[in-house]
């Protein structure tokens, strides 16, 4: 099954490679990996999405928790959480067709030069897939870049 793992990591030489290496060496393809600094510039937040059986992923998480650089590690899949992914795409198509697609998804136009548009959309990973399908229906998607998933726990609801 699909696992979303969230990691707080000390920014040290090789720290990212060590975490990614633990997953990669077990033969698990990392579907997406996002890394960025937190409010503390010495600490990064990693969000990692992998497919694997529960027991093995749990074991890799336990092994990752032994890495000195790892401050916190947890699996969000087991918790109520929100996931978002950003995509930017360059499309060659009639402007009105693009605009109508953007309107339906709540996506944004970033730039337009003649028949070329650069657009941006944020949503769940499956929504990003649907948006890209819609764009392809509207014209020729020349290129696109996805950010990978950023995820966070939902706010705790007061009992």
């Amino acid at each position: 099954m699909r696992h979303t793992v969230s990691i707080l990591l000390q920014n040290e030489a090789g720290a990212l490679a060590r975490v990614a290496g633990l997953f990669a060496s077990r033969g698990y393809n990392i579907e997406s990996l996002t890394v960025a600094a937190t409010h503390d510039e010495d600490v990064s937040r990693l969000t990692l999405v992998v497919f694997g059986d529960d027991a093995t992923v749990e074991q890799i998480i336990k092994q990752s928790a032994k890495l000195v650089d790892v401050i916190e590690i947890g699996e969000l899949t087991r918790k109520e959480h929100v996931e978002r992914e950003l995509v930017v795409a360059r499309i060659e198509a009639d402007g009105s067709a693009v605009d109508s697609c953007l309107g339906r998804f709540g996506a944004r136009l970033l730039q337009r030069e003649g028949a070329q548009s650069v657009v941006e959309y944020t949503g769940r990973a499956d929504e990003v897939d649907t948006f890209l399908d819609a764009l392809r229906a509207a014209g020729d998607v020349a290129d696109h870049a996805r950010s990978g998933i950023a995820a966070i726990e939902r706010p705790l609801v007061a009992a």
Binding site: Q10, K66, L67, V68
Partner: protein, 621 residues
């Protein structure tokens, strides 16, 4: 590295101010000062361009702090190569329980250290390896003797620091020692660019890096206590058991828990099997000792594991060389309980019914106190009689009237004199298993072997390190002709430093364990494992390296006298024993086989009909 120091609440090990706090020092001087502060009395290492400032600082430190007897406070033991240095440091650590330190240069110096670092990681041995690195400005330019050590070692070590900011050097060094020895111990590598070694700094005397994730997890484990309810749950399971068995691993040795284990086992009358790494964690001469289990474990140890109905795993990780087929390991056990300091080991291979993550010594003390308070008592006399019967019926044995020297006879002869009180190191292969099977060990840290990694060439340098850690004990390297070749350059190190290490080479003209597998699984095709045409004269090689006592033993009748003379020699001594090249290691649980399929060989009684080996290479390793 951007590691930042805590601004408030500095983590400080010393409460009083360091007498040198505030003194101007170079990075290299700080390295040496920290080594002295950590209480080291010997360093191992090989010099080179990128570590020269540290070597110079060691020289100056020793010149400035000569002891009254003229000795140096931080003597440097120089090996033939860096692998030797790091295995010496590991031998020192294994024999003493203290952190061993090796100093190596960049590039090839550091890459030669990779094998012992990985070896120490796999066996949980506390080590600090300090490697020189090319100057920060040159990193990543394919500079002379540059290697990406933080990446390479990051996959092998407990942790690696690349110190690119000189202001963090002092805190990093102190933190490295803390990480190496705390929790589940392991090797830490500090990669120090040459400009950082030369940087003018001020010695602060106290700080460490926050490493807050590590510290908070460590604190959680160290402060984990067993509640009464959890103790009660343990004893409820033990009360159900008629045939309980303790399965003790290297964690017992690492945690210094041999004393609590002895008391616990005796208090409740539970027999003990140990893993290869757990040898010495329980006195092998104790009536409750069932010795080593696993692939080459004692038949009675393996049968006891097959027969028991409750397994109490202590600092043991259900390794494939022990468990064989996980589903069929301890098949009659109704419950398995496990204590380990590493949460990742709980239930990793076998699901367990009761567990505690914490230190083994305090956990055993607590369980013992709880059981005593509740007056826990269980009549296990039927189980004791059964186990005693197994030990009698399936005792270790070998061919005792052979014309060729049997290796086990040599080990028995040494053991009659050392009586379980010498430090024994080994290479890897048949001789390692014979030593594990036939020596007695009365205390922990007397058995030094490359357990998990299985590194040939470990024995000689480890013996050197152990002799420096324990000058009061006899240190014997039981080696094989193939294993000792791997680090044979260290024979000269033994004599250079006048260490009274005793080296035994059990020479069966090749890679005996490989041949044993080739006989069993590859139809006797001895691909690359036969060395009978090799020309080395081991005795002359030892003599060339300065061994005054170097002899070859070829006649079984000479064993007692030669062994006695060999061990009585005051200085370094080298003994080559030409052994029966066909001697095998038995019992053997083949790879991927169950204990019930154990082959016991010609001299140990089996309780089941022998199972013919498949004669096919198996997928198992």
């Amino acid at each position: 590295m951007n590691a930042q120091l805590d601004t408030v609440g500095d983590i400080s090990r010393t409460t009083s101010k360091h007498p040198l706090a505030g003194r101007a020092m170079t990075g290299a001087d700080i390295v040496v000062q920290i080594l002295a502060d950590e209480g080291l009395d010997v360093l191992f290492g090989y010099s080179g361009g990128a570590i020269l400032p540290v070597y110079d600082a060691v020289f100056r430190f020793n010149a400035d702090h000569v002891r009254e007897d003229g000795s140096e406070p931080l003597p440097l033991i120089v090996p033939a190569n860096e692998q030797g240095a790091c295995f010496m440091a590991a031998g020192y650590a294994r024999a003493s329980g203290r952190v061993g330190v090796a100093l190596v240069t960049s590039g090839p110096g550091a890459t030669n250290a990779v094998t012992p670092v990985r070896d120490s990681m796999a066996d949980s041995i506390p080590l600090v390896v300090i490697s020189g690195q090319v100057p920060t400005g040159a990193i990543g330019t394919d500079a002379f003797q540059e290697a990406p050590i933080s990446q390479i070692m990051g996959s092998c070590a407990k942790h690696v620091f690349l110190v690119t900011d000189a202001s963090t050097l002092e805190a990093t060094l102190r933190t490295a020692f803390h990480i190496a020895r705390s929790g589940r111990p392991g090797p830490v590598v500090i990669d120090i660019p040459k400009d950082v070694q030369n940087a003018p700094l001020t010695f602060e005397g106290s700080r460490e890096l926050p490493v807050r994730g590590y510290r908070s997890r460590l604190h959680a484990v160290e402060s984990a206590t067993l509640t009464d309810a959890h103790c009660a749950a343990f004893f409820a399971q033990l009360a159900q058991a008629e045939r309980p068995l303790i399965y003790a691993g290297g964690g017992i040795v690492a945690a210094g828990a041999a004393g609590p284990l002895r008391e616990f086992a005796h208090a409740f009358g539970i027999p003990v099997v140990t893993t290869l790494m757990g040898i010495g964690g329980f006195d092998t001469t104790d009536p409750l000792a069932l010795h080593m289990l696993g692939m080459h474990g004692a038949a009675y140890a393996n049968y006891a594991m097959d027969d028991c109905d409750f397994v109490f795993a202590l600092g043991a990780r259900f390794d494939d060389r022990v468990v064989g087929v996980p589903d069929q390991f301890a098949p009659k056990a109704r419950a398995i309980a496990q204590v380990d300091i590493d949460p990742a080991e709980i239930g990793k291979v076998k699901a367990v019914d009761w567990h505690h993550v914490g230190s083994l010594d305090t956990t055993l003390d607590r369980l013992l106190a709880y059981g005593a308070r509740k007056g826990f008592r269980k009549d296990l006399s039927a189980w004791h009689a059964h186990v005693a019967g197994l030990k009698r019926a399936h005792a270790m044995n070998f061919c005792r009237d052979s014309e060729a020297i049997q290796p086990c006879a040599v080990i028995e002869a040494i053991n009659r004199i050392t009586n379980g009180r010498a430090i024994i190191s080994t290479g890897v292969g048949q001789h390692q298993m014979w030593a594990a099977q036939y020596f007695d060990f009365r205390e922990p840290r007397h058995w030094l072997t490359s357990g998990s990694m299985g590194t040939m060439g470990f024995g000689l340098p480890a013996a050197i390190g152990a002799q420096l850690a324990r000058p009061d004990l006899t240190v014997i390297d039981i080696d094989g002709d193939a294993s000792i070749r791997m680090n044979i350059g260290e024979l000269e190190t033994v004599t250079t430093y006048g260490l009274p290490v005793k080296v035994v080479v059990l020479n069966n003209s090749g890679d005996g364990m490989v041949r044993q597998w080739q006989k069993l699984f590859f139809k006797g095709r001895f691909s690359a494992s036969d060395k009978s045409l090799h020309k080395k004269d081991f005795v002359r090689a030892a003599q060339a390296d300065g061994f005054e006592w170097a002899q070859r033993l070829e006649n079984p009748a000479d064993i007692p006298a030669v062994i006695e003379d060999f061990l009585a020699f005051k200085g370094p001594a080298f003994l080559e024993v030409v052994i029966d090249p066909d001697a095998g290691v038995y019992p053997m649980v083949g790879p991927g086989a169950t204990y019930a399929q154990m082959i016991t060989g010609d001299w140990i009684a089996s309780r089941s009909a022998p199972v013919a080996p498949t004669g096919q290479p198996t997928g198992m390793f």
